[in-house]
């Protein structure tokens, strides 16, 4: 069953990614096709996660590949909130190829199969993994928005004649949305870290390098919010800060199989 659901979801995500490229060249029909690809893929992946949840003995996404599967779903869910609107379709060019690639990677790692066993308790994993992954999904989307901001800002600064050819959301909109996304994601990360620390304490374990990096990620995004809302930082500086935070998110995600799932 899980197998039957994986392929349609991957095909839909892949088709959306290809259609977003087409939309960048000829905006219009390709954009709508891409949007439907994202929607259909998301619905099918939701069903896949549902099957995994029903068949699993414990938390089904406790492996690095399983968590990657859940992470992809969270990123696409966050993107679906507003990303499918016509002005944000260019964001899909950054999000959907990544989502399709990570989803395929999750399958290679066995994260899309049903009937997985977990040695962690459900409550801890739902809170810790769920919250941290939700935060990372938010940061991924914020990075996409910041990247789009920098690209658009550069076009305006270069006074490119074709600046109006490919319409993207305005600088103010991109910047505000990135900040809001981070403002939602950071509390999730904070709670996820607190749950992790509480378990660490109960197990009398010590912080590892990855946990330190996660805390550093928290500091970077905390600084982002502080500087933006208290010091009035806007534009390129905050966009670079959001991307710096995302670089740490990538490192943490890549380090997960080594430290948490070995």
């Amino acid at each position: 069953m899980a197998e039957l659901l994986f392929w349609p979801a991957l095909v839909a995500y892949g088709q959306a990614a290809v259609a977003y490229f087409g939309n960048a060249r000829y905006p219009g029909v390709a954009g709508r096709v891409a949007t439907w690809g994202v929607r259909i893929g998301w619905v099918v992946q939701t069903a896949l996660l549902g099957v995994q949840a029903v068949r699993a003995d414990g938390f089904p996404w406790g492996t690095w590949a399983g968590s990657l599967n859940l992470f992809v779903w969270l990123v696409v869910s966050a993107y679906l909130i507003w990303g499918c609107r016509a002005p944000y379709r260019l964001l899909g060019l950054a999000v959907m190829p990544l989502a399709a690639a990570l989803f395929a990677l999750a399958r290679i790692g066995g994260g899309t199969a049903a009937g997985a066993r977990s040695h962690y308790s459900n409550a801890f994993l739902v809170l810790h993994v769920g919250l941290v992954l939700a935060a990372f999904a938010g940061f991924t989307l914020a990075a996409g928005l910041s990247g789009l901001y920098l690209w658009q800002e550069r076009r305006l600064k270069r006074r490119a004649a074709g600046v109006l050819r490919l319409r993207v959301p305005s600088l103010v909109t991109l910047e505000t949305l990135a900040a809001r996304t981070i403002a939602f994601a950071l509390p999730a990360l904070t709670l996820g870290i607190l749950v992790g620390l509480a378990r660490l304490r109960s197990d009398r374990a010590h912080l590892d390098a990855l946990m330190v990096l996660t805390l550093l990620t928290w500091v970077v995004y905390g600084l982002f919010l502080l500087l933006r809302y208290e010091r009035g930082w806007r534009g390129r500086r905050t966009a670079y800060l959001a991307l710096a935070g995302f670089a740490l998110v990538i490192v943490v995600r890549l380090g997960l199989p080594v430290t948490h799932f070995s």
Partner: protein
């Protein structure tokens, strides 16, 4: 039924000729009504770039030409050399292209679609022109939704407004500082205001004109030396003075930026020589576009429209094919209608003959017999009807219509 288009446009006639036959909507409606009184279908489309008469019916071309000559009066002889005449498929394709904005001075301009709609509503269309104009309006909308031909700006002032939207998004509530009270600057500011921005400050050396502008836009009037003080509150600066020197320096803008808490500032300099220090563009959060930048954006956008026009042509061609198929089907419609009428007549006649036997049936059974006989007739006639319509799309339409009339004796019935 013959469809004819007689008209002239900016492609073939200079404004001196076009203005002779340019009509307000009421007069265009009168022209259509006069032709309708002669038993014709007629719609008159008149804009600043074209006056065209679409006429369908007997002697359509001759009557359309006469109507046009009447309009032109003494200039009739001059007009005959520039008038174009198109018939049937050519006329239909032309109207579809016009509605899509493909025949306009600026490809894809949006106003023409509304003008075609008004002409259609004020005209005297019959079945043929009604179908043609509805198809043209549909094609016009389709081109605008399925291509980006109408999305990019076609003038310097609309390019300035579109760029401001790329910075701020929604312009509602954004404050404009207008430096200089000339017509060009006013037009650019108005283009921004039409998208919701608020012309909040007007600064000029010529107090009289500036006062009039400030009063009209309910803006604050500033002496030109006080511009710097309002930079912190403004979102868009539009400058177009005739000053020979720089009106706003980089250091002035830099000091104003400190109190803006990162809010971007968009500046448009359409003056020659330039009013705004080009160095302003280097400041973080400042976007300065001068007249050359804006013209480059417009040129690129027009080139983009022309590229999109190729896709639009394909859409229009498909719509024109659809119309031609419909028009061709009209050729066989009388034969189909006669055939169906004849079949229905036979069905009803046979039912009447069987009345004595049917009288014994219940009401429900009677309805069932009615329904069954109708279904038999419909099923028998379905395929011949489809085949005749298919043949109508080719050159065999008339042949099929004749054959059906002969085989079923429809022609004898008529005589």
């Amino acid at each position: 039924m013959k469809l004819v288009l007689v008209g002239l446009s900016h492609h073939v006639a200079p404004v001196e000729l076009r203005e002779r036959v340019a009509l307000p909507l009421e007069r265009a409606a009168e022209v259509s009504s006069r032709l309708a009184a002669l038993g014709l279908e007629a719609v008159c489309l008149s804009t600043c770039n074209r006056t065209e008469l679409y006429v369908a019916g007997a002697d359509a071309e001759e009557r359309a030409l006469t109507a046009f000559r009447d309009l032109a009066g003494e200039a009739g002889a001059e007009l005959s050399s520039v008038l174009y005449r198109l018939a049937d498929g050519g006329a239909a394709l032309h109207l579809l292209r016009v509605a899509a904005g493909l025949d306009s001075l600026v490809p894809g301009e949006g106003e023409i679609l509304g003008q075609v709609r008004s002409a259609y509503e004020a005209g005297a269309p019959g079945p043929l022109l009604d179908r043609l104009f509805r198809q043209a309006l549909h094609a016009g909308k389709k081109v605008r939704t399925e291509t980006s031909i109408a999305e990019s700006p076609a003038s310097v002032s609309s390019a300035a407004a579109a760029l401001a939207q790329q910075v701020f998004g929604d312009l509602r509530g954004r404050k404009i500082l207008l430096i200089g009270a000339g017509k060009t600057g006013e037009l650019a500011a108005q283009s921004l205001a039409s998208r919701g921005a608020d012309i909040a400050y007007v600064a000029s050396r010529t107090r009289e004109r500036a006062t009039e502008l400030a009063r009209r836009f309910e803006a604050e009037l500033l002496p030109i030396g006080s511009v710097e003080a309002r930079l912190a509150a403004a979102d868009v600066v539009v400058s177009c003075t005739s000053a020979p020197e720089i009106v706003l320096r980089k250091d002035q803008v830099a000091s104003a930026l400190r109190s803006r808490r990162g809010t971007p500032l968009f500046l448009i300099d359409i003056a020659v020589p330039r009013d705004l220090d080009p160095g302003i563009h280097e400041l973080d959060g400042c976007y300065l576009f001068d007249i050359d930048d804006l013209e480059a954006v417009v040129a690129e956008s027009l080139a983009g429209r022309r590229r999109e026009a190729e896709r639009a042509e394909a859409i229009v061609a498909a719509e024109a094919t659809g119309f031609r198929a419909w028009q061709a089907a009209l050729e066989v419609v009388p034969a189909i209608a006669s055939l169906r009428a004849r079949a229905e007549e036979i069905r009803k006649g046979e039912l009447a003959r069987a009345e004595s036997r049917l009288g014994r049936l219940t009401e429900h059974e009677r309805r069932t017999v009615e329904s069954v006989t109708s279904q038999i007739v419909n099923k028998l006639l379905h395929l011949p009807t489809v085949r005749m319509k298919e043949a109508a799309a080719t050159s065999h339409g008339a042949l099929y219509a004749d054959a059906v009339e002969h085989l079923f004796g429809l022609d004898e019935e008529r005589t």
